[in-house]
C-alpha cells in the first residue's frame, strides 16, 4: 500500500505542477512584486527601475493624505450601496422565482442577461438613458411635471447611481445561488408549514432564512469583496467625475499609477486595499461563526 501512496504523491505533484507553475509565474510573483514595489521609491518615470528602499514612506504618505481617506470613504459608500442592493434583490428575486408562473424560464433569462455583458458597453447605454436634460428617463419625470435628478452628473448622486448599476450587473449570480439553495429545502418542511397554517413571513423567518444561511453568508462574502473592486464600473460610467465625487480607491490607484506615474504610491494603496478586504472577510467569517452556533 505504501508504494502506491508514494507513487500517488509524486503523480499528484505532477498533476498540480502546471497550474502551480503558471500561477507562481504570472499571478503570485506580481503580487509579491507589488508588495515590494510599495517599499521602493518608484514615483516618477525617471525612477522606474529604482531599487531605493524607502520602507514605509509611501504608506505614511498615503495614510496621511486627506485624499486617501476621502477615496476610501467613497469606496465604502459604493460598497455599502452595492452590497445592500445585490443581497436584497438577489434574495428577493431568488424567492420570487421559486414560484411557478407562466414563462418563468424566459423571465429568468431576462434577469440573468446583464451578468454576461460588460460595464463599458452597458455604460454607454446608461449614460444615454440617464442624461439629465435629454435622456428618456428624465423625460418620464417631465411628463409628470417634475425635474428628474441628475443621476450620473450629480456630484451627490453619481456614486450611488454607479453602485446600483454595477449591482444590477452582478445580480444574476446571487439570484441563481439563492434559487438553487431554495430548491434544496426539503419539501416536507413546506408541507409541515402548510399543515400548521403558517403565514408567509413566518415561513420566511423560520424555514427559508435558516436553511439559506450558509449560502447567504458565502454570497455576502463574495459580494462584499467584489464591491470594493469598483474600477471598471467607474471608468465605464463616470471616469471619476463629476469633480472627484466618484473617485473611489480603486480608481485612485489607477490614476496614481498611470496618470501621475506614481507606481510605488499606487502599489501601497493596492496593498492597503487588499488588507482592507482581508479584514472585512475575517470579520464576516467571525460573524458567521457566531451566528452559525445559534
Amino acid at each position: 500500500m505504501a508504494q502506491i501512496t508514494k507513487k500517488n504523491e509524486k503523480s499528484a505533484y505532477l498533476f498540480i505542477l502546471p497550474f502551480v507553475l503558471m500561477f507562481v509565474i504570472y499571478k503570485l510573483y506580481p503580487m509579491i512584486y507589488g508588495f515590494a514595489v510599495s517599499f521602493l521609491d518608484r514615483n516618477s518615470t525617471k525612477k522606474l527601475s529604482s531599487i531605493d528602499f524607502v520602507w514605509f514612506k509611501n504608506y505614511i504618505n498615503v495614510l496621511t493624505s486627506k485624499t486617501f481617506w476621502e477615496t476610501l470613504g467613497r469606496s465604502f459608500y459604493f460598497a455599502a450601496v452595492y452590497t445592500v442592493f445585490v443581497m436584497f434583490f438577489g434574495f428577493l428575486f431568488g424567492v420570487l422565482f421559486n414560484n411557478e408562473f407562466k414563462g418563468r424560464k424566459i423571465v429568468r433569462t431576462m434577469f440573468y442577461m446583464p451578468y454576461v455583458t460588460n460595464i463599458i458597453a452597458i455604460g454607454i447605454v446608461f449614460k444615454y438613458l440617464l442624461n439629465p436634460t435629454k435622456g428618456p428617463i428624465n423625460a418620464i419625470f417631465r411628463l409628470f411635471g417634475q425635474v428628474g435628478p441628475k443621476w450620473l452628473s450629480s456630484p451627490t448622486m453619481a456614486l450611488p447611481t454607479a453602485a446600483v448599476i454595477g449591482a444590477w450587473l452582478a445580480l444574476a449570480f446571487n439570484i441563481i445561488t439563492v434559487l438553487a439553495a431554495l430548491q434544496e429545502i426539503p419539501k416536507d418542511l413546506y408541507e409541515v408549514a402548510e399543515i400548521e397554517g403558517v403565514s408567509f413571513t413566518q415561513k420566511l423567518w423560520y424555514i427559508i432564512l435558516p436553511m439559506l444561511k450558509p449560502a447567504l453568508f458565502m454570497l455576502l462574502t463574495i459580494t462584499v469583496i467584489n464591491s470594493f473592486k469598483s474600477y471598471t464600473t467607474i471608468v465605464g460610467l463616470t471616469a471619476g467625475g463629476p469633480g472627484t465625487s466618484t473617485r473611489t480607491l480603486s480608481y485612485q490607484i489607477y490614476e496614481d499609477a498611470f496618470t501621475y506615474m506614481k507606481f510605488s504610491i499606487a502599489s501601497a494603496e493596492g496593498v492597503l486595499l487588499t488588507i482592507l478586504i482581508v479584514m472585512i472577510n475575517n470579520a464576516l467569517n467571525k460573524v458567521r461563526d457566531l451566528w452559525g452556533n445559534n
Binding site: K46, N61, T67, K127, N131, K150, P155, M261
Partner: protein, 434 residues
C-alpha cells in the same frame, strides 16, 4: 457535444490565426514610418491627404495608430504606451505641458545633430520656437503654434442686432457684448468657455501671475487667481451669459461640442486650431457663419494672449529612425498647410504669411478673410502668456485645479475652501515628487 465544441474551437483558432497573420505580410516591401494620433483625426480629410502627400513625395508609407477614447484619454494612453516601451516612431505632443513631461521622462531622441546631419539649419527654420530643455538640447520640432482668440456666431449677432465684436477689447466689454446677445428664452447663450485650465484662470494667466512661489510651493492663494475663478463662475451662475458648469458637464461632450452645437452659443474663447472644425462642412456641418475677434485683454498688465505649440518628437525606441527623421522634418515644415494652422517657422515670406491665412480663409468659404485672421490672430499687439501649467507636479496641479474649481462652480464648496484645498493638495503633490 464536447468533442464538437473542441473541434469548433480549434478550427476557429486556426482560421483566425491565418487571418491575423495575413495582414502583416503586405507591408514588408515599402518603407514605413509609424505615428500615433487622436482617434478623431483618422476620419478627417486633411490628415489623410497630408500623409498621402508625404508618401507621394518620399515613398514612405505612414502607418497611423489612433488611440482609443477622447483627447484626455489619448494623452493618458500615449503616456502609458511610451512607458511600456512603445516602438512608435514619431510622437506628437500637443501643448508644452505634455511635451516637457515626456521629454523629461527621457522618451525622446535629441535632435540637434540629427537635423544638422540632414543639412538643415534648425535655427534658421524654426528659430526660437525650438523647445530647448535644461540640458541645452531640443527633443522636438514644432509643427504649429496656436493662439487663442474669440470666435463668434455671426447669425446670432445678426439676430440680436448687435454689431460684430472687434478688438482690441477687454473682458468687461466681452461680457457686455455677450449680455446683449444672450437670449435665454430661445436657449441662446452669449458665451462659452471650456471647463478647465486656462479658462478658469484667464485673467490671472494673462497677467502672468506665477503658479509657483519662489520657494517652489503653490502660489494659488494669490488674489488674482481667486478673482479669475469668481469671475468665471459668475458668467454662468450670476450673469447668465454662459451655460452653468453643471449643465455643460451633463452634456458629457468634449472640445468639439460647439462645432456640433454652436448654433446656440454666440462667443467662444478657443484656440485658432478650431478653425479647422469650423471650416469643415463635411465633418461638422453647420448652418451659421463664424467670425473671429482677438482675445480680450485683462487690463493693461494683462494684455497678453495665450500661445501654445504642437510638437513632434522621435521615440528613443523608434523602429524606423531614418524614416522617422524624414517624416518629422517634413511635418515641421508642412503640416500647417494641410491642417490650416499657423506654422512655427522662424521666418515666413510675405507669400507664406498670406498662404497661412488664405488657406484658412478660403476653407471658410467667405466666413472670414485673410485680413480678419491676420489682424485677430497675429497682429493683436498683445504679448505672450503661457496657457499650460508647467513645473513640478504639473499634471497633478492641473488636475487638482480643474477638479476643485469645477466643484466650486457647481456650488459644492465656497471659494475659500476651494483655494485652500487647491493649495494644500498641490503642495502635497509637490512634496511627494521630491
Amino acid at each position: 457535444m464536447k468533442k464538437a465544441l473542441i473541434t469548433l474551437l480549434l478550427l476557429t483558432i486556426a482560421v483566425a490565426t491565418v487571418f491575423a497573420s495575413g495582414s502583416k505580410e503586405a507591408k514588408q516591401e515599402t518603407r514605413v514610418v509609424t505615428t500615433v494620433c487622436r482617434a478623431s483625426y483618422v476620419n478627417e480629410e486633411w490628415f489623410n491627404s497630408m500623409n498621402a502627400a508625404f508618401e507621394a513625395e518620399t515613398g514612405i508609407h505612414v502607418d497611423v495608430q489612433p488611440t482609443p477614447g477622447n483627447d484626455a484619454d489619448h494623452d493618458a494612453k500615449l503616456n502609458i504606451d511610451l512607458l511600456a516601451g512603445s516602438t512608435i516612431d514619431v510622437i506628437p505632443s500637443l501643448g508644452p505641458k505634455f511635451y516637457y513631461n515626456r521629454a523629461d521622462a527621457g522618451y525622446f531622441v535629441a535632435l540637434d545633430d540629427l537635423i544638422a546631419s540632414k543639412g538643415i539649419d534648425a535655427k534658421e527654420v524654426w528659430g526660437s520656437y525650438l523647445p530647448y530643455s535644461d540640458d541645452g538640447h531640443y527633443y522636438a520640432v514644432p509643427y504649429k503654434q496656436e493662439v487663442y482668440c474669440v470666435f463668434y456666431n455671426k447669425n446670432l449677432f445678426d439676430r440680436a442686432g448687435v454689431p460684430y465684436p472687434e478688438g482690441p477689447w477687454t473682458w468687461d466689454e466681452y461680457v457686455e457684448t455677450a449680455k446683449k446677445v444672450t437670449d435665454l428664452s430661445a436657449g441662446i447663450y452669449g458665451s462659452y468657455m471650456n471647463i478647465e485650465n486656462p479658462w478658469f484662470i484667464l485673467s490671472a494667466k494673462q497677467k502672468n501671475i506665477p503658479l509657483y512661489k519662489e520657494d517652489g510651493t503653490c502660489n494659488f492663494d494669490a488674489p488674482e487667481f481667486r478673482e479669475s475663478i469668481e469671475w468665471y463662475k459668475s458668467l454662468g451662475n450670476d450673469l447668465k451669459i454662459q451655460m452653468p458648469v453643471e449643465e455643460v458637464v451633463n452634456e458629457n461632450a468634449s472640445w468639439n461640442y460647439y462645432a456640433m452645437a454652436g448654433d446656440h452659443l454666440a462667443l467662444f474663447v478657443q484656440g485658432n486650431w478650431f478653425t479647422r472644425l469650423l471650416n469643415s462642412q463635411t465633418d461638422y456641418p453647420k448652418d451659421w457663419d463664424y467670425g473671429v475677434a482677438p482675445t480680450p485683454s485683462a487690463g493693461e498688465d494683462g494684455n497678453n494672449n495665450f500661445v501654445s505649440m504642437g510638437y513632434y518628437s522621435i521615440n528613443k525606441n523608434a523602429e524606423h529612425p531614418e524614416e522617422a527623421l524624414e517624416y518629422l522634418i517634413w511635418l515641421g515644415q508642412n503640416q500647417w498647410k494641410f491642417e490650416g494652422q499657423i506654422p512655427a517657422l522662424a521666418s515666413l515670406t510675405a507669400e507664406e504669411q498670406n498662404q497661412v491665412f488664405s488657406a484658412i480663409a478660403d476653407a471658410s468659404h467667405g466666413q472670414v478673410t485673410v485680413s480678419d485672421l491676420y489682424e485677430n490672430f497675429m497682429n493683436t499687439g498683445m504679448g505672450v502668456a503661457q496657457s499650460d501649467i508647467i513645473g513640478t507636479a504639473a499634471d497633478e496641479y492641473n488636475r487638482i485645479v480643474n477638479d476643485e474649481v469645477a466643484a466650486y462652480c457647481m456650488d459644492l464648496q465656497d471659494i475659500d475652501t476651494t483655494i485652500s484645498k487647491i493649495c494644500s493638495r498641490v503642495n502635497e503633490a509637490i512634496k511627494n515628487v521630491q
